[in-house]
């Protein structure tokens, strides 16, 4: 499945949670973003904080209406599978559901019968190395385990495109690098189209086929960079000279934007 992001702009007229009462100052989050993600491609989106990455992902997920432009999904659409599902930075697990019930959620709301959805959920629980934790509540899990559940839940509905919004950035450095490698293994097996938002250049370079660089707010397309390291990629790549040099180049592109964005935040 190809995803064509075609001239997306988004302007917010209300603050989140203002509940329709009174218009807050207008925020232009995204301006005229266009790029294409090919079938089974892994695309990372990076940009300084507040530049509209989450908003863009929300628009691709069909959760946020764009102000203008459109998102087109093309090729090999299987009507029983959802177009997208999302892995969130803050995990967004349902605290009142056990691990198993969290993973089953998408199947449950789609009307998959209990026995069958349990089997499917268990398959993804095994895939994400969560066996033995099925009956635990999210509050009883570490951050890394929570995000494993988040990924299992998003995969369980077998979406055409997996959308990930800084899925590892709430985790400590060690857990993050373990999960990066693990996720890469899983992705190589499932071969899904992935759009992966991050603000971590190494992460983008290690995981992705291409990196979409956004400018500071309003987010505009700065650059699309090909990542030419071969696959399968091993952990050793992270310390190779060519890899570090590549990351430096990307940082060069981002640095000035990040600096200005940081000052604007203060």
């Amino acid at each position: 499945m190809r995803v064509i992001v075609d001239g997306i702009s988004k302007t917010f007229t209300r603050r989140p949670g203002a509940n329709g009462r009174g218009n807050a100052p207008v925020v232009e989050a995204l301006r005229d973003i266009s790029f294409t993600v090919d079938d089974r491609e892994f695309v990372a989106i990076i940009g300084p904080s507040g530049c509209g990455k989450s908003t863009l992902l929300g628009i691709i997920a069909g959760l946020v209406p764009p102000s203008s432009g459109r998102v087109i999904f093309e090729g090999g659409i299987d009507a029983v599978r959802p177009l997208t599902s999302v892995v969130f930075q803050e995990f967004a697990l349902f605290p009142w559901r056990t691990v198993l019930k969290n993973v089953e959620f998408g199947l449950e709301v789609r009307g998959v019968p209990p026995g069958e959805r349990r089997d499917i959920a268990m398959e993804y629980i095994r895939l994400m190395d969560l066996l033995g934790f099925e009956e635990k509540y999210p509050a009883e899990l570490s951050g890394g385990m929570k995000q494993r559940v988040g990924i299992a839940r998003a995969l369980s509905v077998n979406p055409h495109v997996l959308l990930m919004d800084e899925p590892l950035s709430a985790l400590d450095a060690q857990t993050r690098s373990i999960m990066q490698v693990e996720f890469l293994r899983i992705w190589e097996k499932t071969e899904k189209t992935v759009i992966y938002v991050t603000h971590n250049i190494q992460e983008a370079a290690f995981l992705a086929d291409r990196i979409v660089v956004l400018s500071r707010r309003p987010g505009r397309l700065r650059e699309i960079i090909d990542v030419d390291f071969g696959r399968p990629r091993e952990e050793g790549l992270l310390s190779e000279d060519s890899f570090l040099k590549f990351c430096d180049e990307v940082w060069g592109l981002l640095r000035d934007e990040a600096r200005v964005a940081m000052k604007e935040e203060i």
């Binding site: 599902s85 999302v86 999210p138």
Partner: protein, 267 residues
């Protein structure tokens, strides 16, 4: 004296010893009761003003055995339970309507804000005028008192549902009804239960007040009547009953909460 090393270990670092606190709480109760008993025994206070704990316990047992107490408890309890259930039920219904529908919110929210600050006991004369002096007016005043905390917490719980969890549910394919059922209501549940706990306290307060103002039986009436006749021991036995009722309702509600909200037990 200057020293080259500093050691933190279990003997030098204080805190985190929860175990002793439970004993201390019980100890303070025991000490107060013993002091109280001693003061009465040595004639430091007159039993007309403050009877000894032992005398209260004896009177309590006597009234329990004679059936007098059970009769009053049963009457008050019946009023509480009906009023409480009615108030909680209405509170949840109205709260859900206001929390889920902007139209209902626009219609009902101002009425709630306007009537919420009224001390509910002030409505008793009006309610008696409408419903008469019988059981229904007492049930009604308790229902009104229980309604507000439950309603307001239900609204807060429904509106407080995490938008991120709603997004997560929508992204997994939940429709509007499923989002309400499986996300909004579930995340509101602990808040609603907190409202129900407040409502239980309010019910006890209002049953006693109402029975003191307009009743010929019940715990509130018993306490007031005993006071009028200067039967202080009997009065104190009535207060003991209220204490037990309050504790009992807290325990029951805690049990219910633990059964309904098992996911927050871990913390």
């Amino acid at each position: 004296m200057a020293s080259d090393i500093v050691v933190y270990d279990k003997s030098t670092v204080k805190g985190g010893r929860e175990g002793t606190r439970g004993y201390l709480s019980i100890l303070s109760i025991v000490i107060v009761i013993l002091l109280w008993e001693a003061m009465c025994r040595f004639g430091l206070v007159e039993s007309l003003y403050l009877p000894a704990p032992s005398a209260i316990l004896v009177e309590f047992t006597r009234m329990l055995l004679s059936g007098e107490l059970l009769m009053s408890i049963w009457l008050s309890l019946k009023r509480i339970i009906w009023g409480f259930l009615l108030g909680c039920g209405m509170g949840i219904l109205v709260g859900l309507a206001v929390g889920l529908s902007p139209v209902m919110e626009a219609l009902i929210d101002p009425l709630l804000s306007l009537t919420y600050p009224i001390p509910k006991i002030a409505l008793l004369p009006l309610i008696i005028l409408w419903l008469g002096i019988g059981e229904s007016s007492k049930v009604a005043i308790i229902a009104v008192g229980a309604f507000y905390p439950v309603c307001i917490n239900t609204i807060a719980g429904v509106k407080g549902a995490d938008p991120l969890l709603i997004s997560a549910a929508r992204s997994l394919g939940a429709n509007r009804l499923q989002v309400i059922q499986k996300v909004v209501l579930m995340s509101a549940l602990p808040v609603i239960l907190a409202g129900i706990r407040l409502a239980a306290g309010m019910s006890l307060l209002l049953v006693v007040s109402a029975e003191m103002v307009a009743a010929t039986a019940g715990i509130g009436y018993l306490i007031l009547y005993a006071g009028d006749l200067m039967l202080t021991t009997k009065l104190m036995a009535g207060i003991l009953v209220l204490c037990v009722l309050g504790l009992g309702s807290t325990l029951v509600l805690q049990r219910i909460e633990r059964a309904l909200v098992p996911w927050s037990r871990g913390r």
